[in-house]
């Protein structure tokens, strides 16, 4: 370009800017790659799993061979996973919500104890899932279970072995941070003005929390529950030694029974199958069911959270 013809001030783009192109290109590519991997995994499972998923498979039991493509069903696994996850929710929600309430409403922000509690929650979130499995075995089964048996059941082993309740409790410890973080986020988003308004009217702190704060935090608490369920539903490592069974002819009848599990079943079908080519359809169908469960829950959580942010924006 001839400098004589160049305008003095030029707002138009300088044309092709290589570094800018490379930088946006590379980072954009990384983003694209992640989304692509996600879509490939989902697509692969939905495409192959969808074609082999049948009503009979989802609602059938495993009376005979669980590797038999034409007869095997995964209803017992669906029931087992549902049971352990619901039971876990029962344990983790009260503790998680109350911990979050303490941290946002009561805890002095600068105290050492508050920092330690936060650190502990943070730390729980990063403990490897297999270590939770060891913990469940070492604490719930070998310590609690065996001692309960020793006190009440004499020589019989009822609680001192892998069981539904121990798997649920182990998962409850594992998902505690998920619930605390989600609940805390929603509690913090509630404008301080609402609390002050209530207190200035002469409400006690507890009245304010129960009647003004908690109803507002409900969507956040719900998000926490959904995320915890979705996280726990897919976990296998923590239940390997605490409750999951390779095969059971019957459904679990009591909290001290073992159970079959969707995620563990995926593991079994992928690694223990006598003929992986032949059992591929039921493997894919099982994965599809598990993915639908966890991903659907995740998407619901994302939507609930987005809605909550919107209504909170209205409040502020």
């Amino acid at each position: 370009m001839n400098s004589a013809t160049r305008p003095i001030v030029k707002f138009r783009s300088r044309g092709f800017d290589l570094p800018s192109f490379v930088f946006s290109g590379l980072t954009g590519l990384a983003t694209f790659l992640i989304i692509a991997i996600l879509l490939i995994i989902l697509g692969n499972v939905i495409y192959i799993g969808g074609s082999s998923l049948s009503w009979r498979f989802v609602t059938g039991g495993t009376q005979s061979d669980m590797f038999d493509v034409n007869k095997a069903g995964i209803l017992p696994m669906i029931i087992g996973t549902t049971a352990r996850v619901l039971l876990m929710t029962l344990f983790v929600m009260p503790i998680g919500v109350i911990t979050a309430l303490y941290l946002t409403e009561y805890a002095p922000a600068t105290s050492r104890l508050t920092r330690i509690i936060r650190g502990a929650i943070n730390n729980l979130a990063s403990v490897p899932s297999i270590v939770f499995g060891l913990f469940g075995l070492g604490f719930f089964i070998n310590f609690l279970g065996r001692n309960v048996d020793g006190l009440f059941n004499g020589a019989d082993t009822i609680w001192g072995k892998p069981a539904l309740i121990w798997a649920s409790l182990t998962l409850a410890v594992m998902t505690l941070p998920v619930v605390v973080v989600a609940t805390e986020e929603s509690l913090r988003a509630i404008p301080q003005g609402l609390r002050e308004a209530s207190l200035a009217l002469g409400a006690t702190k507890l009245q304010t929390i129960l009647q003004i704060v908690l109803p507002q935090a409900l969507p956040g608490i719900l998000t926490g529950a959904i995320l915890a369920i979705s996280r726990a539903a897919g976990e296998v490592a923590p239940i390997l030694f605490t409750g999951a069974a390779y095969y059971m002819a019957e459904l679990p009848h009591s909290l001290s029974d073992q159970f079959m599990d969707l995620g563990y079943h995926v593991f079994i079908l992928s690694t223990q199958s006598p003929d992986i080519e032949k059992t591929r359809p039921i493997l894919y169908a099982t994965v599809l069911v598990l993915l639908l469960l966890t991903i659907a829950l995740n998407i619901v959580a994302i939507l609930v959270r987005a809605r909550m942010r919107k209504t909170l924006r209205m409040l502020q």
Partner: protein, 270 residues
């Protein structure tokens, strides 16, 4: 630290007046946020059924002082308060004081309207239920009376059970006033109640304040000096945590004793 202003333990309060006895009395009131001192030995007498305005530049301590009067500062961890605040001769910082009872008797309206995300009716009913009113007929009656007093009844009577968040900013603030007066406090503290409102809504709030002063003692913090002259009877000027001058509003704005007050009210700083 050089202090240009001598803090006074007992301020040059306006002439005593038999008709308006002193209801709030503060002496040597100091407040620290952690290391920094926000109120420096404040002494002030606020009188019954009078509108008292607190004015001063941002950060002068006027809102902080207001929040000392119903102990809302207790909510902040790092706050340390010394000195005396008496309401009707009772020390409100005495350990025997029931905080709930204090706040019932000393109501507050905040800078940003803060209706609860409930219906208009429930907003007021919440306050009433806190203090033991449960009967439906009584609730209905008091809610209507409070909304009328807050000059909001005609606008909302047909939609009492819709969300309070659907009201305009000015209406929300009047609802907060209705909520505060529903539990019949003696004193109402107002922290810049109109600062977030448009001029029209502000005018309505100001009218309301003038009506309410028949029944309530009102202490109002304001940034707006015209507003102070329009609605208040007595005005206190604060600067850097000190009470600089406290007198009849007309005196403060026309003939202040203190140079600093004069500079502020004539708009030379602030």
């Amino acid at each position: 630290m050089t202090e240009t202003i001598q803090s006074r333990h007992i301020p040059a309060s306006p002439e005593p007046d038999e008709a308006f006895p002193v209801i709030i009395r503060a002496r040597d009131l100091c407040l620290h946020y952690g290391q920094s001192q926000a109120l420096k030995s404040i002494g002030i007498d606020i009188r019954k059924n009078v509108v008292t305005a607190f004015i001063g530049p941002s950060g002068c301590g006027k809102s902080t002082l207001l929040r000392c009067l119903n102990r809302m500062n207790d909510l902040i961890d790092s706050v340390r308060i010394t000195g005396l605040v008496e309401i009707n001769g009772e020390d409100i910082y005495s350990p025997e004081v029931d905080l709930i009872e204090l706040r019932r008797q000393v109501g507050m309206v905040f800078q940003r309207s803060n209706p609860f995300p409930k219906s208009i009716y429930e907003n007021i009913a919440y306050a009433l239920r806190l203090h033991g009113t449960r009967a439906k007929t009584e609730l209905d009656e008091v809610i209507e009376r409070s909304l009328r007093q807050a000059a909001l009844w005609d606008e909302v009577k047909d939609r009492l059970h819709t969300s309070a968040l659907g009201l305009s900013g000015g209406q929300q603030q009047r609802l907060c006033i209705a909520r505060a007066i529903a539990i019949r406090p003696e004193i109402i503290l107002m922290d810049e109640p109109a600062s977030a409102l448009d001029p029209l809504a502000t005018a309505r709030i100001e009218e309301l304040i003038l009506e309410l002063k028949q029944q309530f003692t009102i202490v109002i913090v304001t940034h707006n000096m015209q507003q102070a002259t329009r609605i208040s009877d007595e005005t206190a000027f604060f600067y850097l945590g000190n009470l600089v001058e406290f007198d009849k509003t007309s005196k403060i704005f026309t003939n202040p004793t203190n140079k600093q007050t004069e500079d502020y009210v004539t708009g030379r700083f602030g």
